[in-house]
Symmetry: C2
Subunit: 305 residues, 2 copies
Amino acid sequence: MAFKLTILGCSSATPTLYRHSSAQILNVNERLFLIDCGEGAQIQMRKYHIKFQRIDHIFISHLHGDHYLGLMGLLFTFHLLGRTKEIHLYANADLKKIIDLQIEISKAKLFYPLIFHPIDDTVVNEIYSNNRISVTTFPLDHRIPTVGFLFKEKEKERKIDKEKIQVLEIPLEEFEKIKKGADFLDKNSGRLYKNSYLTFPNTAPVSYAYCSDTGYTESYLSVIKDVDLLYHEATFMQDKLDNAREKFHCTAIDAATIAAKANAGQLMLGHYSARYDDLNPLLREAKTVFENTLLAEDGLDMIIE
Amino acid sequence: MAFKLTILGCSSATPTLYRHSSAQILNVNERLFLIDCGEGAQIQMRKYHIKFQRIDHIFISHLHGDHYLGLMGLLFTFHLLGRTKEIHLYANADLKKIIDLQIEISKAKLFYPLIFHPIDDTVVNEIYSNNRISVTTFPLDHRIPTVGFLFKEKEKERKIDKEKIQVLEIPLEEFEKIKKGADFLDKNSGRLYKNSYLTFPNTAPVSYAYCSDTGYTESYLSVIKDVDLLYHEATFMQDKLDNAREKFHCTAIDAATIAAKANAGQLMLGHYSARYDDLNPLLREAKTVFENTLLAEDGLDMIIE
C-alpha cells in the first residue's frame, strides 16, 4: 500500500499568489486524510481534483490562522453538497468554540455529524487507528499548543509462498493463521513447517510525518525515527536564524538536521516565509546537511513508498 | 471622480474553481473600500494587483460564511505586513465576537487599531461619510440580519467659467464661495452677477449599490433609486424560483425587475449558484426585463460613471 501526498498549500503565515496556506491531503487507498486546512484549501482541492467526499478525517496541527482558516468554509461546503457521512475532526479543543460560534451566528445546521476529537498536545498519543494505519500526535515547540502527526502503516501480514502451499497441500483454512505468523503441522507426516519456510516478508510499512510549526527541538526524534517521508517546516534561511528562534520556527538547515538525526528516508521542506520567491536557495542549504531533500509546492503529488 | 469596481469573487455559498466567494473592491480616488470578504479574497487581491494597504474601510453585508470567511486571514495579513494605520470595519455586531475569539485563541495581537462599527440592520442609515462620498446601509430580506450598501458621491461644487472670471477680474478669494453657489457683487460697477452666469454645473455624482443576499423585496427601491450601477444577487434562474423564495435569494429576473423599478443606470448580476457553469442564460433572462445588464466575473474591472 502506498501513501499519496498532495500539497494544497505550503506558505507560512501570509499566502502568496503561488503558495496557499498550509493544507495537504494524504491518500491511503482512496481514503483521504486532510492535514491542516489553511484559507482556500477547498478551492485548491477543486483545482487538484481531490474528491471532497472521500475525506472523513481532518487533522489540525494548531490554531494559527494559516493552518485552519479554510476549515469553516469546507465544513459549510460539505453541508451544501449534501454530505450525511460523519466527519472526524482532530484538533485543539478551542477549535470547537470557533466552529460552534460561527455555526450559531450564521444560523446554520450541518446535515452531517461533526465528531470532534480534542488533541492533548502535551503527550505522544495515538489518536486514530484503523486496520491499515495509525495516526500519532507528538508535541511541537511553538508559541501556542501545536502537534505533529505521524501517519504509519501497520505491520503487514507475511505473504504466503504459493508453491510450498501447493506442494504441501495446506488446507485453505490454515492460510490466515500462516499469514499472521503461525507454523504448520502436517498431521499426515507429523512434520512441523516453520512459518519462515512457508512465507515471505511483506513490503515494509510506509510512514509519513508532518511537523509544522515548530522551533528547533529534538524532542520528537524518537517518534519520527526512520520515517519514510518527513514534511518539516523551513520558514527561513540560515541568515534569518534569529528570526526563526524568536518566532519558534525552523530554518531549512534545522529541518535537514532533524531529518538526518531521525534517519528519515526523504525530507520535504515547506511552510516558507512569503519573502522567498525562489525556493532553491532553501533547498541548497538543506541539502548541505541532508541530501535527499525536496521542496513542497502547491499541487505537488507524491507517492510515499 | 469615477468609481472603479473590481470583482474578487461572485459565487454564492460554495466557491468554484473560477468563482470565489463574494468580495469586491470599490476604488474611489485610490482609496479602497472592501465590500464583503469571502474566503480567498486576499489571494484574489494579489492576483488582481490590489494594493492592500490602501484599504481603510471594510463593509460586511451579513454573517454567512461566503461573505466573511476571508476576513480573519486578511486582518492577520495586514498585521504581518506591518500595518499600523487604523482599519474601520462595518458589520453585524456578532462579527466582533468571531474575530475576538480567534485573536484570543491564536494569542495574536494586531499592531494596528481595528475599529469596529456595528451595523443596525433594521433601518436605513448613513454609516460613513467623508468629503467625497457617503455610505448608507439598508435592510435586505435574508435569513439572518443582512444589509445592502449604497456608495454615493457627494454633490460636487460647480465649475467656474474661467473666461468670465478673467473679464470681470474677480479676485481669487471669491472663487471658493462662487464654487459653492454664491453670486458675485462687483463693487466697482455695483452690478450683481448670478452664480449661474459665472459657473457650469459639474458632472453628476456617481453612485453604486450592492445588494447581496436578499429575497425579492421592493423595500429598498427608494434608497437605490437612480443608482448608476446596481450589483444585485441573482443566485438562480427563473426555473428555480421556488428555491430562490425558500432560501431568501433572487433570480436573475428578480434582480432585473429591481433594476428597472429603481431606474438603475446599469445592472450587474452576481452571487451565482455553483450549479451554473455558463452564466449567459442568466444574463439572457435578466435582459428580457432590463437590457443594460452585465455579468460579474472574478477579476472584472469596471469604471462607474
